[in-house]
Amino acid sequence: MSEENPDSLQHRIKSVMIDELMLQETPEEIADDEPLFGPEGLGLDSVDALQLVVALEKNFSLKIPDAEAAKGVLTNVNTIAEAIERSGR
């Protein structure tokens, strides 16, 4: 894994995820396009998804209104970053 800029939005999202979801990984071990859910990726589940919605609101003021919207946003770190940027923060 290459060194990441710790100030990058992607890196900050990963730090929040590790903290809030009690992940064992380091930010460097999570790829920006790694799927969050399912056995091919980080292996998160529906409880993690709920936590992530709360965590993104708390840390990035990103409001995800419903489950449909969550499906699109919570695909990987990049899609979360795009949603945060779109929300103008």
């Binding site: 809030e20 009690m22 292996g43 409880v47 993690d48 709920l50 936590q51 709360v54 609101e57």
Partner: protein, 778 residues
């Protein structure tokens, strides 16, 4: 599952268990009659929550009940009554009705009557007010000691026993939503085994802010109350509250006193769903096992069940999994099975649900009607059974009620109309194995000395090797420093700590998995996973997952919308047992019991019972506790020198076999009462141990007291052998304390070949003794 079964017809009357009294309180009403009328009419009983602020939540309605201002006549003092919490008041209402219904009098009171209760939140109201004061006004201690004492789950049982003026051993099963059904099943087993003539059993839970916020954070609550179980568009459950109690006795006893028999308890099945902490197996595998086991015990085929009271929460996943289980269980008869969910009328009562729905099923049986689920508009396609949507009159002879809990604890009860002769199968070998035939063939411990027995043994042999207690000060508070002994980080990599099930788990769950894996050992673990050993799990503790509970409640108070959904499932009493069951491969029965720390003896007794009943081949018994400032400060209220310790220990119990240590005697735990004050009781159980044919003479005594305990010292004053006091060595381990003693004692017996005695003095109201001997070396 093969039906029908071979049946045995001459079941002795002393072993048949009948119901002679029932009591209930729900949002539908107070007492049997109001509830019958409401359920018969299919009435809905929800309203806006008034007990706490729901303004920050997605949902504001629940099955909140109207609690009468006064209590029925009882034996409590005015001062005791003034301190009762809401949940206990409900329990006393239901208990008084059931007791009076049974017509039990002073004659029945003269004998110990076991009290078996199920709850999920206990006196959460007191825990919450304790937390609010401790976090917002830490300098004010007024009232905190009373709250801390009465929050203990055991206290609610004691209040009920005192209100009705009886005594007996207390077992509180906290298996989430299956708790109440497990409590009734457990009480039935006590009578069926011929140990008791009577038992008093049921369940209760009151609405509480923490639990409400928790379910809301998981988005498990429907924003459109009333809930719609089995509707294609169901979108969650509604919470409710209440209590129900049953007076159970042997047929022999009921006949002897000419009591009216309301029904017979004919089936009890329990299983563990280790699919996920909060989600059932999609095909309802464990649900099917519980229903089949209950039917097998009852000697009934599915088509003979006239009414099935489903768990039917109204969440998308539960109802389809339960529906699949019903389809698989009933096979080609599924169209005939009449099913409803009464949660549509009163909500989900969590730890109280199993007992309340057992009483509702009993109502259907006694009053010949089917309580409907009136809120369904479009039945889900899983409903190939006869979903009862309108009130119906029907002849009802056999009823089945399902309770499937959070964490995968599943239970099914079957009641039948009383018949003089009943052909039943006996689900277990009907031979009473003496406790002495139970072997402890593995043990493990996680303590402040480290992960594994070796570090505990080293600390016992060289106390100076143990680090001094750390001084803990709560962040940002000028509270008095606390003395604490935490479990150190593991010195080597423990692969199980990386298991996905444990990622979010609370510290107590990790400790108990560490201890249990050591106790079970690799070879037996393989045998469990290959299906060769059917494993059961009993977990005992006093406080449970306090660490996450206090974090979650703190968040819910600040902003319920931002409370962590990831924490809430791990705050539930049986979450550690659920993780443990999943990791070890337990699909059979599992209980979490809470209360006094001497409950560890009850846990061993339950394990021995399961082995005798052939419900499993081996049982892991665990006791544990974790550090949290909230509990540590509460203990400081009762003595500033207390060192608060955390950890767990586990024993592996099996029947017979060559290896290991014999569980020679289990004495108690017995309950202190006004007639048997603490000192007398501890002396009495010690004397019982000392009369055990000199086994005690050449043994090592493991005492309990973590600080001066004149009662325990006096009781064992004449003991001449070697003594080990783990309370002084490690600190106050609460739920872990007696488990540590037993694991250390088993280890010593195994090494020395000499017996060991464990003095198990609880901090609340119970005391007992365990004697371990070397197997085959007596």
């Amino acid at each position: 599952m093969p039906y029908p079964f071979a049946v045995t017809s001459n079941y002795p009357e002393s072993r048949r268990v009948v119901i002679t009294g029932a009591g209930i309180i729900t949002s539908m009403g107070l007492g049997w009659r109001e509830n019958v009328d409401g359920f018969r009419a299919g009435r809905l009983a929800f309203r806006p929550v008034t007990l706490f602020d729901t303004s920050g939540q997605r949902v504001s309605q629940a099955g909140e009940l109207t609690l009468p201002i006064g209590l029925p006549e009882n034996a409590l003092t005015a001062r005791q009554i003034s301190r009762l919490d809401r949940a206990t008041r409900m329990l006393i209402h239901a208990g008084t009705e059931a007791w009076a219904d049974a017509g039990w009098s002073d004659r029945e009171r003269a004998e110990p009557i076991p009290l078996c209760l199920g709850t999920s939140a206990g006196a959460m109201e007191l825990g919450e007010s304790y937390f609010r004061q401790a976090s917002q006004h830490p300098e004010t201690r007024h009232g905190q000691a009373v709250r801390a004492v009465n929050y203990q789950t055991h206290r609610q049982a004691i209040h009920l026993a005192n209100a009705l003026d009886f005594t007996g051993p207390v077992t509180i099963i906290a298996n989430a939503c299956a708790s109440g059904a497990n409590a009734i099943g457990h009480a039935t087993s006590l009578i069926r085994r011929g140990e008791n003539q009577r038992a008093f059993a049921g369940g209760y839970d009151a609405l509480a802010k923490l639990v409400f916020a928790g379910f809301d954070s998981l988005q498990a609550l429907t924003p459109h109350v009333p809930p719609r179980p089995f509707d294609a568009h169901r979108d969650g459950l509604a919470l409710g509250e209440g209590a129900a109690m049953l007076a159970l006795e042997s047929l022999e006893s009921a006949r002897a006193r000419g009591a009216e028999i309301l029904a017979e308890v004919v089936g009890y099945g329990a299983s563990t769903d280790s699919h996920h902490l909060t989600q059932p197996h999609p095909e309802g595998d464990a649900a099917l096992r519980a229903m089949s086991e209950a039917c097998r015990g009852a000697g009934l085929r599915p088509d003979q069940i006239d009414y099935l009271n489903s768990h039917g929460t109204g969440t998308p996943l539960n109802d389809v999994a339960e529906g699949r289980a019903i389809q698989r269980w009933a096979g080609t008869d599924v169209e005939k099975i009449r099913v409803s969910s009464t949660k549509a009328s009163i909500g989900h009562l969590l730890g109280g649900a199993g007992a309340v729905e057992a009483v509702i099923a009993l109502m259907a049986l006694r009053e010949n009607f089917l309580p409907p689920t009136t809120t369904v508009e479009t039945p889900d396609e899983v409903c190939t059974f006869d979903l009862v949507r309108e009130p119906r009159d029907a002849e009802v002879r056999n009823v089945l009620t399902n309770s499937f809990g959070f964490g995968g604890a599943n239970a099914t009860l079957i009641f039948s109309e009383f018949e003089e002769t009943r052909a039943v199968t006996i689900p277990f070998e009907d031979t009473k194995t003496a406790i002495g035939k139970i072997r402890i063939s593995g043990w493990g411990a996680v303590t402040p000395a480290g992960w594994g027995m070796a570090s505990l043994v080293e600390a016992i042999e060289s106390p100076e090797s143990l680090a001094e207690p750390e001084i803990f000060t709560r962040e940002g508070r000028e509270s008095r420093p606390l003395l604490v002994r935490r479990v150190p980080r593991p010195t080597e990599k423990l692969p199980f700590l990386r298991d996905p099930r444990l990622r979010r788990a609370s510290p107590i769950a990790r400790f108990s998995v560490g201890a249990a894996l050591e106790a079970i050992g690799e070879a037996r673990l393989e045998a469990v996973k290959s299906g060769e050993i059917r494993l059961g799990v009993v977990y005992a503790y006093v406080n449970g997952c306090v660490n996450y509970s206090s974090r979650f409640y703190g968040e819910a108070l600040r902003d319920p919308a931002l409370a962590s959904p990831i924490l809430f499932p791990e705050t539930v009493y049986n979450a550690p047992a659920s993780h443990l069951s999943s990791l070890l491969g337990c699909h059979a029965i599992n209980y979490t019991i809470v209360g006094d720390s001497s409950q560890f003896l009850s846990a061993m007794e339950i394990a021995a019972r399961w082995l005798e009943e052939n419900r499993c081949d081996g049982v892991i018994v665990v006791g544990g506790e974790e550090f949290d400032w909230l509990c540590a400060e509460a203990y400081q209220l009762f003595g500033s020198e207390t060192v608060y310790a955390e950890g767990a220990a586990a024993l592996y119990l099996e029947r017979g076999g060559e290896a290991g240590v014999s569980l020679d005697s289990l004495i108690g735990p017995e309950l202190y009462t006004n007639a048997h004050p603490r000192g007398d009781l501890i002396r009495r159980v010690a004397e019982k141990a000392e009369t055990q044919q000199g086994k005690v003479a050449d043994s090592t005594l493991f005492t309990r007291a973590s600080r001066d305990d004149a009662d325990e010292e006096a009781a064992w004053a004449d003991f001449k052998g070697k003594r080990v006091n783990l309370g002084r060595l490690l600190g106050e381990g609460m739920g872990a304390a007696i488990a540590w003693q037993c694991a250390a004692a088993a280890d010593l017996v195994d090494r020395s070949g000499k017996p060991a005695v464990v003095s198990a003095v609880g901090e609340n109201e119970q005391a007992g003794v365990v004697i371990l001997t070397a197997n085959g070396r007596e």
